[in-house]
């Protein structure tokens, strides 16, 4: 199938984009990497009147260190994140997660910011940036506002990003010494949407976990932070007994909806197994 007809514009600056969004409102959609939007248009599940292509805006690209934090521009491709030595050094969780984002051909085109703004509940980056305590920069006509990732995802495909705002990029605290980050996920085939995934970070001092971050993807409408389990693991040694108890606790924290292939019980089982693996890996890495 082919997309319905639409107007196309390729502005060179964020200000122009904001102007266009203000003028066209809901009839306009922003085109980043197009890996979801174009498929939706080709299936005629959406018929916007105007596509605003932001691929020519240089200021949205690039991965760099800014004021002691790792900055990933909204238009950084998944493959740039995957290949970046800066990401591997300062946010290894993202380097681990990148190969799980669909396939390389899609990663060459799809963007970091596109995935975050779209907020698919099974996407990798939203869960990662919540686990990394990242801060998102959103540009509007009133200026730039900074929203912590943990407050950004509101509901299914619903975020803090207003219809007249543009995501500029993501500011990620760099990896502190003694802290470990692990990302793992389970999918039916490599590159599929995850059934469940875990993004986790923790310090291991004196043989016990501190300051745990444990965020699940594919288990709720938004990245699901297992706060109770995080708190319970504070000061616990990563032995099998603690892991088993953490898993029991997890049953009270998550209540995933079944999907076409996996029941709630299956998802909970897989989440428990995966959390065990991730916590063991964290203990090895830290």
């Amino acid at each position: 199938m082919k997309a319905p007809s639409f107007d196309y514009i390729r502005p060179g600056s964020v200000d122009e984009v904001l102007e266009l969004l203000a003028t066209h409102g809901d009839d306009a959609r922003i085109l980043a990497g197009g890996q979801t939007l174009m498929a939706t248009l080709n299936m005629r599940l959406s018929e916007p009147e105007l596509l605003i292509d932001i691929n020519a805006i240089e200021s949205l690209k690039g991965i760099e260190l800014r004021q002691g934090a790792l900055w990933i521009g909204a238009m950084a491709r998944h493959s740039h994140v995957e290949d970046s030595p800066l990401v591997a050094e300062h946010a290894p969780m993202l380097a681990q997660a990148a190969p799980h984002v669909a396939h390389r051909a899609i990663r060459n085109q799809g963007t970091f910011g596109g995935s975050i703004a779209f907020a698919d509940p099974a996407a990798e980056w939203p869960a990662c940036i919540v686990a990394l305590d990242a801060v998102l920069h959103l540009a509007g006509r009133q200026g730039v506002r900074k929203v912590p990732a943990v407050e950004f995802f509101l509901d299914l495909y619903t975020t803090e990003l207003a219809a007249d705002e543009v995501l500029l990029g993501c500011e990620i605290p760099i990896l502190a010494p003694g802290r470990a980050q692990v990302f793992q996920e389970l999918a039916r085939r490599h590159g599929d949407y995850a059934i469940v995934g875990v993004a986790a970070a923790a310090n291991l001092r004196g043989g016990v976990f501190h300051d745990m971050r444990l965020v699940f993807l594919g288990m709720d409408n938004t990245p699901a932070r297992a706060l109770d389990v995080e708190q319970w693991l504070e000061g616990k040694a990563p032995d099998e007994q603690a892991l088993a108890q953490a898993r029991q606790l997890l049953d009270d924290v998550l209540q995933p909806s079944a999907d076409l292939y996996n029941s709630t019980a299956t998802k909970m089982h897989l989440a428990g197994v995966l959390m065990g693996r991730v916590l063991r890996k964290l203990a090895e890495t830290a």
Partner: protein
Amino acid sequence: MELLGQQLIGANRQTVWNALNDPDVLAQCIPGCEEISRLSENQLQLRIMVKIGPVRSRFAGTLTLEGINAPASCTLVFEGTGAAGFAKGGSSVVLSEQGEQTRLEYAAKASVGGRLGQIGGRLIESSARKMSDEFFSAFQSVLSGGTDAGAEAGTLGGVDAAAVPGARSGGAPPSSGQAAPADAGASAGGPAQKNGAAAGRPASTRPAPAEAAPMLAGWRPELYRAFWFCLGVFFTLLVGRWLP
């Protein structure tokens, strides 16, 4: 998938019953409802713009009331089709008096198919629940006249099947054919399908046409004619675009 739920509404039973049967009220509450009109005493015609994530698609369909036992119970049956697929579902609704308030209980079944079912199947259940949240918070605020009673009742209602262990039979079998119905809540359902947890969220951002409704009342026959004309144009365009 079957969604079960209940909702405590701050109005008496007759008011709630009338509201459920009032196209103007439904038009304000159904997320994305663009057109609603009465075909016969027990049948409504509606057009809905479904906006979930990447999907923005129109559905046209009918909502029929069956097994009417006013003002206590009825069954709502919805069938709709759009460019993106089809949706159908049914829901039994029971209203019971609880002091000054009314308890609304429902059990809904729904399915979607076509392209929407193909690509949307993964998230249909969450989508159905999200739309039901929107419907009930809007229904609540319309009935309570936008007072605090709505917010209070909102926190009480909405026990859906997902939260009740054992209430669900688990995942649906994988769909085999392209257009195999995805077993889930239709995104384009009538009020019957807008069920699930009612979070005490602010009502939908759609401006409530509070003043528009009475003003339009006298013009309704004209509006109906205009609606049917538009529908004719819409289908002509649709057929013109698809058949050649």
